[in-house]
Each structure stands twice: as C-alpha cells, then as structure tokens.
Amino acid sequence: MRVLRSDMSSWKRGKRASHSFWKQSIEALVVFSLCVKISGCSDVDELMSTYPLIDGHNDLALQLRIRHNNCLSQVDLHNLSKVSTDISRFKAGHVQTQMFAVYVLCGAQQKDAVRLTLEQIDVVRRMCTEYQEFELVTSVQELKDSKDNGKIACLISIEGGHSIDSSLPALRMFYQLGVRSMGLTHSCNTPWAESSSNFYPVYKRENNSLTSFGKVVVEEMNRLGMIVDLSHTSWNTSSAVLSHSKAPVIFSHSSSYSICNHSRNVPDNLLLELKKNQGLIMVNLHNTFVSCRDEANISHVADHFDYIRKLIGAESIGIGGDYEGATSFPHGLEDVSKYPALIQELLRRNWTENELAGVLRNNFLRVFEQVERVRDQLSSKLPSEVQIPFEEAHNPCRLILKRPDPRSPSSDQSSGAEEIAVEPHQSCAVLPSGRE
C-alpha cells in the first residue's frame, strides 16, 4: 500500500510536459486500476476530500523556534526539510485544519513561560496570516468557512498550564489572541494540576491533583469557550476535570492504555468517563504510545481505533498525530501526507463512511460546537477574579505588590514602587537577559 501511495503521489506531480509524460501516465493508469481493484484507494481520496482531516496536535511552532528562532523569513513553509510537516504534505494528506501547539518548555515554569508562550502564539499567527494557504480560525463557523474557501485552518492550542503562570487574566488574554484549547499540563505539574510525568520535581502534592484554583481554571475555560485538553495530565487530574467541566473535553494527542500501557495513554475507566462527557480522544501516532516499542506500523495504530470504538463508540474518536512533537512514527505514517494510509486501513477494517467522517472531522466539530454553546449559556457570568494563593504559586519570580504608602514623596507612580515587597532575587529568564 505504501508503494502504491508513493506512486499515486508521483502521478499527481507528474504533470511535466516532456517525453516522460506519456510513460508516467500509462504507468499511473496501470497503478490506478490495480489500486481500485485491490481496495479502492480512490475511495479514500474521495472520502478525505469530502471530510478532510482536523488534526488535534502538531508541534511545527516548536520546530520553527528550535531550528529557525521563529524567523519565518528564513523558511518556505511550502516545502520544509528535516521535519514532517509543510503545506505541500498537508495538502497531500488531506489535512484541512491543524491545531498548532504553542508549547514552551517546562523549564520555563517559574521563569519566562508567559513571554515564551506569547512568542509562540506570535509565530503561529504570523505563519497563518503570511501564507495564503493558511487561515487562522477561532470559531466553528470560521473553521467551516475555511473549508469552503479551500484553506488550511489554523487553530492555536496551549500545551501546558505553566504557560499561564497561574493567572486567569493571562488565560483570558491568550483567548483573545486566538487560543482555543489548553492542555492543563505538559510533563510538569502546575501549582493547580498534575502531570502524568514525574520528570520535574515541582509542585508535588498528595490527593490534590486538581486544586480549587485548578477547578476555577476549568470553569473560566468553560466560560470563555476554550477547549480543555487532558493529554499529559495525570489520570486523577483527568478524572477530576471530567467531573467538573460543563463542556466536553478532549485528549488532543493520546492513545489507548489497554493497547499500549504507557502513562501518556488513556485507561478504560477514563474513556468511559469521557464518553459520558461526550468528549473526544484524538489518537496519537507516535510509536512509543502506539506499540509501546520503538517501532510500529499502521495496523498497530488501527488497533487503537478499533479498541476505542468497541469501548465507547466511533463518535468519541479523532486524530492527534503529534507530528513534530515526537521523533518516531509508524512505517507508512512518517509525515502529515500519510494520513490517507491510516484511513485506508480503517476502511479495510470495515469502518463505515459515517464513522470515518466523524473521526476525520465531525466529532471534533461537535465537541467544539458544544464548547461554544456552553460559552453562550454562561455569557452572563462575569470574568473570574479568583487569584491563586501566593503560597500555592510558590514562585520566586512572582512579585507581591503592596499598597503604596500615601505619605511617601516621589515622582509619578514610583510611590508604588518604593513600597513593593520584592522577592529574593533570582534569575527569572530561561535565557540570559540583556541579550540582543
């Protein structure tokens, strides 16, 4: 099937006027007939043209930062080397909407995570406005319109609550910048939610996986209409959120724990809670989460789909490839052009067109619509003014501002500065200050 797909691709590109044209056309005709005879790959193309993919998670923004320092002028996003994502391959893969993660390292928590997140949001916004193939979208309607306009829609998601520095105003401002989904943790606990990973020894606590402030964060996300994403959170946190959230939630890039018992995957009990919540699990394609080994193939991936469908129904499933955020992908799914191969396998396993339409896009649209409906229902609720108790934030870079002393003489506003309690000085930058 892989060989056939690559021949199909070369057939698509083979429109060069030359002596090779006829040769290629005849070859393609042969291949095409074989293809239709064997399993109907034209069905996949047709299916995915009607229901082009909405993918839940891609870390291209991180690669742009690491490799190019967010200098978009240095790259051509139509064709990128050394990564798995670019516009050409999105088109080949029938990707119509991509949720781009504006991830910043956990090491930036208690330092400059907020600023770094703004920079990642900035690069996604620029990318999606500078390329006419992209369109930044912030609502279901805009997403649907972008399909009609033949665009690849960009959604922005935050990957890790450390990006908001325990600040609801920061959450609101991110929403205003277009962020429509937030993963509550990455691989580090926040002061208010727990990660599935123990790698960072921060904010450890017992029996308080989602704190009261964490619940307020979820409530504010519901009020704003921001999708709550539970990938990377601990199972206890996930369970607490599934109880608390008024809107459906997602796992933007996680797979089934029963098929591969990695802590990043979702166990059956949580899947059943997700079903009640009418949420969505967007299956991650990374080898380690698919086969629990360094290698995997499309069949391993499809097993996850089959299993989850059997447990909670196809309407609970989507795809969150995790391209650019992970390093090894199954044979046949090496990059974002290869999604059709996965759909092909599901077709072969007798998934119906309706079920696949759901997996590809309709399930996500349903969830996003419901999140917007909940927002509308909560429209009379005021923005939350809850602040995290200082001792819970426990952040050496967090300044306490005290009331200015009205008796102190000074210049404009500096009366406030003189009375401020300054926390012990520590470097709060991941990168050195004074840089140019």
Binding site: D59, L62, N69, C71, L105, C106, G107, D112, R115, L118, E119, I121, D122, V123, R125, R126, D165, S167, P169, A170, R172, M173, Q176, L177, H186, S197, F199, H286, T288, G325, A326, L382, P383, E385, N395, C397, R398, L399, L401, P404, P409, S410, S411, D412, Q413, S415, G416, A417, I420, E423, S427, C428, A429, V430, L431, P432, S433, G434, R435, E436
Partner: protein, 360 residues
C-alpha cells in the same frame, strides 16, 4: 468641547484598581469610587472624550513577572470597559475615537508604560498590539536591556546604551511597522533625539511638560519641542505639580503656562492633554480631578487661544498623529522583525535534549 473630543494621553486608574483593589472590579463601583481622581461622574463632568489608560507595572517586575502582570493590567482595562459599556467604548484607532465621541462615550485605549513590560521580545510587542495596546512608553523609571530612561539625565543612574541599543532600534522599526505609537515620556534626552531621527512616524509624549518652565528631567526641552513640531508629533502636558512648577504646589494657571510656552516655541499643533491623573499624589489647585479639565480649556480661551488652537490641543492633534501612524503602518510591507542573533544557549539545548522524549 462639544465639537472635539478631549483626548487625554495618560491616566493610571488601572494602577489604582490594582494597588487598592487587586483588580477585583466586582468589589468596586466606578460610579461611586471616592478616593481617586477618576470616576464615572467626574469623567462625565470633565467631558472626557477619549482616554489612554495606562497598563503600568512597576520596574521591580523587570526580569521577573513583568509580562504576566502587564497582561493582567491589559485584562483589567478590557474588563472595565465590559463592565460599564454605556460609559466606555474600547478603541484601537483614530476612527474608533470619533465613533465613540458620536455615541457620547469615552473611547478607551491602552498604553503600556515601560519597555520592561515586553521582556525584550518583539513577539510580545506584536501580541500586545493584537490585544489592543496602541502606545508603548519606551521606559518607565528604569533602563531596559535596550533603552535608557530619564534618570540617566539626572545622574542617578548610568547610561547603559547611550540612548537606544541596536535592538532598541529594531523595536522602533517594528512599532512603526505595526502602527503602534512611540511614547517618549520617561525616556532620556538622548533617546528622545535618536527616536525623533529614526522613527518613520510621528511620536508622542503621553504625559510630559515643558522643561523651560520647570526644569525637571521628565519634561521636554525646547529643542526637542521644535523637533516634535518638525516631525508633527505631540506633547501631552502632564499636570503633576512637581513637573509643572518644580515644587509641591501648583495652580491651574501654572499648567496653562506650559501650554502657552509650547505654543510659543513649537506651535499649537503639537500640544495635547496628558494629565497623569491617579498616577501622581499632587495635582494643581483648580485641577483636583478629571472633572476640572474644562476649567483649563476655559483658561486657554481666556488667554487668547483661538477655537481652532484649543480644538487642536483637545483632540485634533492626537487624531492627526494617530492617523499618520496608521498610514505609516499601511505603507509598510516589510516582514515583521525577528532579532537576527539567535538566543540559543547551552541550557536551552540541554533542555531540548532531555525534554525531547517528554515533548510528546
């Protein structure tokens, strides 16, 4: 004042909301708030047509949580406008100001006061513009890694950059490209001159007065006033006693002297109002709060200012500057600025390696 909106360049009510109420707007009623220069009845009496609300965080937040705190101040301004929609209309353009005026609302804009709020990041500048910020005061009372503040001119702090660093120049270029007003209140004189040379768009002083009348380093010397005139910018006069008379007390007449002086030296086309209410502890007799500003307008008329000159100072000059800044933005087709030097650092790469497996 019924024909032209009074546009004030700088008000620190958001700072009062933070320092007095921790931004808990639910605990404040701006209709009855008593211990500030600004509240809704006073705004109405003062016929305030448009206000740049300062999103200010103290210099002590630099290298700490300045960015997050600035976002919180931007958020409180948005929420204030949402809470009192019959009074405030959030605005981001010269057209918005005119629209608000027609609806008898106070157009509410945002100015971030101090480059430390950016944490030396053009991405932060751009996203703050996206959040509605329309001016950036390059410094408050501290140097940033890329620009010097006014305290350098007093001798109490050393100059770090002799004005703007090369990154600072990139900030100016990016502000021109975005259409963000460059505010030179609080900067050193060297910065004033460098920016006046560099900027493709007119600049503002959102709350500074005339140095010749009161030789305080927060004020603007005559040669700079003339350059502001040449570049068609604006100096919005600050009412703080210490900058008006260089002493603890002042009167409305003293403030009018600043208006007269700037008109004499550089013309009526560069003058505006930048009261600095709620950011200072001492304001002049006769200008005790924002409701009193019409009395200053009356004084100018009494001193022989023409209607056109007064309307220019009230709002037309600022509208001209803003429109020109918007035009420069519209003409700019270059790529957005990203600093050329990489920020890669050994810590960063190590974290990437260790985090790679955890990215997923």
């Amino acid at each position: 004042m019924s024909e032209t909106p009074l546009i004030d360049g700088h008000n620190d009510l958001p700072w009062q909301l933070l320092s007095q109420f921790n931004n808990q707007l639910n605990k404040v009623d701006l209709n009855t708030l008593a211990n500030t220069h600004t509240n809704i009845p006073k705004i109405k009496d003062g016929r305030l047509g448009a206000q740049f609300w300062a999103a200010y965080v103290p210099c002590d937040t630099q290298y700490k949580d300045a960015v997050r705190q600035t976002l919180e101040q931007i958020d409180v301004i948005h929420r204030m406008c949402q809470k009192y929609p019959e009074i405030f209309m959030f605005a981001t353009s010269s057209q918005d100001i005119l629209d608000a005026f027609k609806m008898n609302k106070t157009a509410s804009l945002i100015g971030v006061e101090g480059g430390h709020s950016l944490d030396s990041s053009l991405g932060t500048l751009r996203t703050m513009y996206q959040l509605g910020v329309r001016y950036l005061t390059l410094t408050h009372s501290c140097n940033t890694p890329w620009v010097d503040n006014w305290l350098v001119d007093t001798g109490s702090e050393p100059s770090e950059h002799k004005g703007l660093s090369s990154f600072g120049k990139q900030v100016i270029a990016e502000m021109n490209r975005l259409g963000m007003l460059i505010d030179l209140a609080h900067v050193s004189e060297e910065v004033m001159n460098q920016v006046l040379t560099l900027s493709k768009a007119p600049v503002i002083f959102s709350h500074s007065s005339a140095y010749t009348i009161c030789p305080h380093k927060r004020n603007v010397p005559d040669d700079v006033l003339r350059r502001v005139n040449e570049t068609k910018g604006i100096v919005m006069v600050n009412f703080y006693n210490d900058y008006v008379t260089c002493s603890n007390t002042a009167s409305l007449s003293d403030v009018a002297d600043h208006f007269d002086h700037i008109k004499k030296v550089a013309g009526a086309d560069i003058i505006g109002f930048g009261g600095d209410y709620d950011g200072v502890p001492r304001v002049p007799e006769g200008l005790e709060d924002v409701s009193k500003v019409p009395n200053l307008v009356a004084e100018l008329l009494k001193r022989g200012w023409t209607d056109e000159e007064v309307k220019a100072a009230l709002g037309n000059n600022l509208l001209r500057v803003m429109s020109e800044v918007e035009k420069v933005r519209n003409k700019c087709t270059e790529q957005p600025k990203v600093p050329v030097k990489t920020f890669f650092h050994s810590i960063h790469l190590n974290q990437h390696d260790s985090d790679t497996s955890l990215l997923i």
